[in-house]
């Protein structure tokens, strides 16, 4: 198990959210959209080098800007 950010996670790989860096504001916002610590997600794609990251969480598909994705830390095999 290693801890990496959503921006670093490879497409088509799964991970479990272990931490959300940055202010409590961002954490609260992500939490209300269903991205909380312990949630399992799967990364769908990454558009360009510094573009948004698309993930699946539960039954939602979410797009996160690169900066946001870099602050979501997941543990992955």
């Amino acid at each position: 198990m290693k801890k990496i950010s959503l921006a670093q996670l490879k497409s088509n790989h799964k991970g479990k959210i272990v931490e959300i860096l940055g202010g409590s504001n961002l954490a609260a916002k992500l939490e209300s959209m269903g991205l909380y610590e312990g949630k399992e997600i799967a990364k769908v794609s990454h558009i360009g080098l510094r573009g948004p990251v698309v993930i699946k969480a539960g039954r939602s598909i979410l797009a996160l800007g690169h900066g946001v994705a870099a602050k979501v830390i997941v543990s992955s095999e």
Binding site: K29, G48, S60
Partner: protein, 575 residues
């Protein structure tokens, strides 16, 4: 006693559709988060009388993290809780995420009725939710509905009086998610489904290579379809009506009129080769209706049909993801593509919908780019009308100039205005296939809205122009601007009147430029100038209203600067 009913739920769960069903008030709904930017209200008749129903912007939580959410939450807290009911609209296909808000609402002591919407879609996806069990656990009435077809709305109305305040222990969000996990486990059964073609397409459209390919195909076919449909309506419907029915009628009616008289000039305008020419006569009864109904309306219909289709399928947020990189350089984020696309129909709703953007800085950049660089349907019809005869290259040229202006101006604004472009965080809806009836209804309301806004202005506009021309009052205005327009842009004095009138409505200006016999180069420059210079009066006011006088003045100064620079450059560069 219920005095108010609020509709609250996560973004894109169909609140506006439920709202229309309850109140009969028609509001636009689309398959992406943030369609409702304002607050709509209407009335529903219950046993005790009429109650006001308020449709609130979507929110994920009662602890707001965006402006739209703040608005929703503060409105909700305005009214005493024992005199209201909150209809919590929940997307059945995504129960887990939606329940956070539900639990917060109950904990805060709001009387809640839960509307399990999109029940049909959930069933289709193999998701089954037991409404009785769910109601039992949460202690609130739960009604499964499918708002788009109207199923369940009647029972929803019947359950409204059953909503009551209940006390529930307040939890932290972390604890709530654990609880939600347990609830979902108990009430929901999932039937395993294999990946469907729809899901494959959903994923492919947000992957870099396949996504860009799809975007190219979608945008190209949308553009082609809009043109094809618009032209078909013109050739098969409107032109035959105007040329075979309306013109003979007008000619018979005005046979005895004196051609030089004031009324003839006002209503019919000038005869071209002894005949009424709808594009050039410039009369209140000739060119004015032809421009609106014969040139612009067909494209308004075809544009909004295609746009509504893309909206309701749920393609636009995917385009936003793909374009996020580019738009970041313009100080915006991907979602700004939605206001921009709306702006291609009419700038006014485009600028209104910039409310989905977070900061004032973004709204200013987006609104300025839309009003300068995004040509609305009337303007595009005008560009085609003026330049179509010279070939597609000229038409494409105008689009190319506008596109370059958007890019360059965006990059400049992004570096000149202090601030940053906020990060993108967006839920992407599943693809849905809207019932034809829903599309037709939406098209009808949009077209109606356009006609109400445009037709009076065009009629009055043409009338005012004719009076000004008849009494030769334009000479004063043209005399003032003549040096700039003539020396810098290489346009004749007569074109000034058209450019000035472009401020009122772009489509009227075409009728004034046509008879001048300009060269291709002059028409090209006029078309570009009309496109980027002052927005029409309606856009002008909407920027004022939405962003304030200071932003309007700044935006206007930018427009004037760019018009002068681009007009002169084109005049120098083109031979």
């Amino acid at each position: 006693m219920i005095k108010k009913i609020y509709l609250l739920g996560n973004p894109n769960v169909g609140k506006s559709v439920v709202f229309s069903r309850l109140t009969g008030v028609q509001v636009v709904s689309s398959n992406y988060p943030g369609t409702t930017v304002g607050i709509d209200s209407g009335y529903l008749t219950l046993k005790d009388g009429r109650v006001e129903v308020v449709d609130l912007p979507g929110t994920y939580s009662l602890e707001p993290s965006s402006k739209a959410e703040e608005v929703a939450v503060s409105l909700l807290k305005e009214h005493p809780k024992n005199e209201m009911v909150v209809i919590n609209i929940v997307d059945s296909t995504n129960l887990e995420r939606n329940l956070l808000l539900t639990i917060q609402l109950i904990e805060e002591g709001f009387p809640v009725v839960m509307c399990l919407n999109m029940n049909d879609e959930a069933a289709h996806k193999g998701v089954k939710i037991d409404p009785v069990k769910l109601g039992g656990i949460l202690n609130v009435p739960v009604v499964p509905t499918c708002a788009i077809t109207g199923v369940g709305i009647k029972s929803l109305i019947e359950k409204i009086p059953d909503a009551a305040q209940i006390s529930r222990k307040k939890l932290s969000n972390q604890e709530r998610w654990v609880e939600i996990g347990n609830i979902v486990e108990t009430v929901q059964t999932l039937e395993h489904r294999h990946h469907t073609l729809r899901e494959l397409l959903e994923d492919a459209s947000v992957r870099p290579i396949s996504g860009l390919l799809m975007a190219g195909v979608v945008i190209y076919s949308a553009f082609k379809l809009v043109r094809f449909l618009g032209e078909s309506i013109i050739n098969k419907v409107t032109d035959p009506v105007f040329y075979d029915l309306y013109r003979p009628l007008l000619e018979t009616l005005t046979q005895r009129w004196h051609e030089q008289g004031f009324w003839f000039h006002l209503l019919i305008g000038d005869l071209i080769n002894g005949k009424i020419d709808f594009k050039q006569s410039l009369g209140v009864l000739t060119t004015a209706p032809y421009i609106e109904f014969g040139m612009v309306l067909p494209y308004i219909i075809s544009f909004y049909l295609i746009l509504s289709l893309l909206e309701d399928i749920g393609y636009l947020p995917r385009l936003a993801v793909l374009l996020d990189n580019v738009l970041h350089r313009l100080g915006l984020h991907g979602y700004a593509i939605i206001p921009m696309l709306l702006g291609f129909g009419c700038n006014v709703p485009g600028i209104l919908s910039t409310r989905v953007l977070e900061s004032k800085r973004e709204r200013f950049i987006a609104s300025t780019l839309i009003s300068i660089g995004v040509p609305c349907v009337p303007l595009q019809a005008m560009i085609f009308g003026l330049l179509g005869a010279f070939g597609g290259l000229y038409v494409a040229g105008v689009y190319l100039v506008l596109f370059s202006i958007i890019l360059i101006l965006g990059i400049i604004l992004n570096s000149a205005i202090p601030g940053y472009s906020p990060e993108f965080l967006l839920e992407i809806p599943p693809y849905r296939f809207p019932p034809i009836l829903v599309l037709v209804k939406k098209l009808y309301y949009r077209v109606k809205g356009f006609l109400i806004e445009a037709v009076p202005v065009v009629l009055v506009g043409v009338m005012v122009i004719n009076i000004l021309i008849y009494f030769k009052l334009f000479d004063y205005i043209t005399g003032f601007f003549a040096p700039i327009v003539h020396n810098l842009f290489g346009l004749p004095k007569d074109a000034i009147a058209a450019l000035v009138i472009g401020f009122l409505r772009k489509d009227v200006a075409v009728g004034m430029l046509m008879p001048l016999g300009l060269s291709a180069k002059q028409l090209f420059i006029s078309a570009v100038l009309l496109a980027i210079s002052f927005p029409c009066v309606a856009t002008f006011f909407i920027i004022w209203k939405e962003l304030g006088l200071k932003s309007l003045l700044k935006s206007t100064a930018i427009m004037i600067g760019i018009s002068i620079i681009v007009g002169s450059l084109l005049n120098l560069l083109i031979w």
